[in-house]
Amino acid sequence: MSQVHVTTKINGDSTEYLCDADETLLDVLRDRLQMTGSKEGCGTGDCGACTIILDGRPVCSCLVLGAEAEGRSVETIEGMANGEELHPLQRHFLNGAALQCGICTPGILVAAKALLAQNANPSETEIRYWLAGNLCRCTGYDKIIRAVQSAAAEMRGETHAA
């Protein structure tokens, strides 16, 4: 297996790695770069636990080759908080108990962030459709939807920080 040398931007930092030609970006993140925030739930695009943002679009990193990231921009859950300061979505997920085991949470946070970047005030239906590819076996989704809505309201300046 020939190795591929990749230079890419991850959470704003220029990053280099060597990977196998058939290795997924998820495996590169987790096993080579020790960025284990992105999770593998299925490895087949069904669960969304591995969601990252690639050149502005949320995608399943289990269905992206590490080699494809050359020269691109990758955003992962590790880049969401600003140092010690949590992103409003992260705070509202914590305060609203929108997680139990937490396996689905990084993928949902990253996908929700991408939604709010293009729609500051999504309806419940829009949130549910947008997150249809993010499976959660614990929460029953209601608290997730509410946490996204309350974070969105705070980000629009309608409420104060939770």
């Binding site: 297996m1 020939s2 591929v4 030609a21 058939d22 997924t24 490895g43 087949t44 695009g45 069904d46 969304g48 969601t51 690639l54 679009r57 949320p58 995608v59 399943c60 289990c62 269905l63 992206v64 080759l65 080699a67 494809e68 050359e70 996908a111 991408a114 939604l115 459709y129 947008w130 997150l131 249809a132 590819g133 993010n134």
Partner: protein, 287 residues
């Protein structure tokens, strides 16, 4: 396995033609990566189309809208002219998978994957879409229904790939619609899919129609009898019932856990009726 990401169509053709082993095209990877990871395919070479600028764009040409093979369905649905002119094709493409899948999946990949249940393909067939194929012999244009020859099989020769899909320009009073049935509201494979394109005149009479069914045979079916049931009518109940009956009769589905033969045949008719109503009302607005 080698991974190559050429920047021109010519370079991609050369890479594919010169590979002695198994070469696969990578577009959005939402089918290919699943099969690669499961060991179902063992490529010697993967050629990624996403660095070829010409294939990343949607362009209005004199004869229609050209959608490059590296355009994901999310991007197609952000294109105002595409959504306004070919709503059926766009709504089919945006049914593919989740938000995350739509950010990667292409309609060319949906076509070349050759699944009988592919969502965008019946809509493209109804729209008489034309695939542009590049290969060692140069370029050729082929109706999309001639690409898949059976589940997972295509008519593409060694070294050939689809570089773009043309959605042909439409006569006034023309529009389309796509509907599918799945057991849930998102993230599932079509049990039946129906794409319909119609043209109406100033009196609201249907003058042309094309009906394509997905997931009810080994290939996408074009149901000529269903189109004939609509042509010359204003889409009244009798015409819609005749269209539905023609679709149910044409369907030759399989029995599986997702639907019985009888259920699939009935749903093919019901969905065709609903899709025809939507297509007709859209077409009247385009006069």
């Amino acid at each position: 396995m080698r991974y190559e990401s050429p920047t021109t169509v010519e370079a991609a053709v050369t890479l594919l033609a010169n590979e002695a082993g198994k070469a696969h095209i990578l577009a959005g990877g939402t089918d290919l990566l699943v099969r690669l990871r499961s060991g179902f395919i063992e490529p010697d070479l993967i050629v990624d189309l996403k660095r070829i600028d010409a294939l990343k764009s949607i362009t209005m040409e004199s004869d229609g809208l050209r959608v490059g093979a590296a355009v994901p369905s999310a991007m197609l649905n952000e294109h105002a002219d595409a959504v306004a002119g070919w709503p059926g094709v766009c709504e089919a493409a945006i049914l593919i998978g989740s938000t995350q899948v739509q950010g990667r999946a292409t309609i060319s990949g949906n076509l070349c994957n050759a699944s009988p249940a592919a969502d965008s393909v019946p809509a493209m067939v109804a729209a008489r879409a034309i695939a542009r194929i590049s290969g060692p012999q140069g370029m050729r244009d082929v109706p999309v229904e001639e690409i898949a020859t059976g589940p997972g099989k295509t008519s593409l020769a060694k070294g050939e790939f689809v570089d773009s899909i043309l959605l042909p320009k439409r006569a006034p009073g023309t529009s389309d619609a796509y509907l599918r049935f799945i057991p849930r509201t998102e993230m599932d494979i079509a049990v039946v899919g129906v794409g319909i394109c119609v043209t109406v005149d100033k009196t609201g009479t249907c003058t042309a129609a094309r009906v394509a069914l997905g997931a009810v045979a080994a290939k996408i079916l074009v149901v000529e009898a269903a189109a004939q049931a609509l042509i010359g009518t204003k889409g009244d109940e009798a015409a819609l019932n005749a269209l539905a009956a023609a679709c149910s009769a044409a369907a030759t589905p399989i029995d599986d856990k997702r639907g019985t033969v009888a259920f699939r045949k009935e749903i093919a008719g019901t969905l065709a009726k609903r899709a025809a109503k939507i297509a007709l009302s859209r077409a009247e607005k385009n006069l």
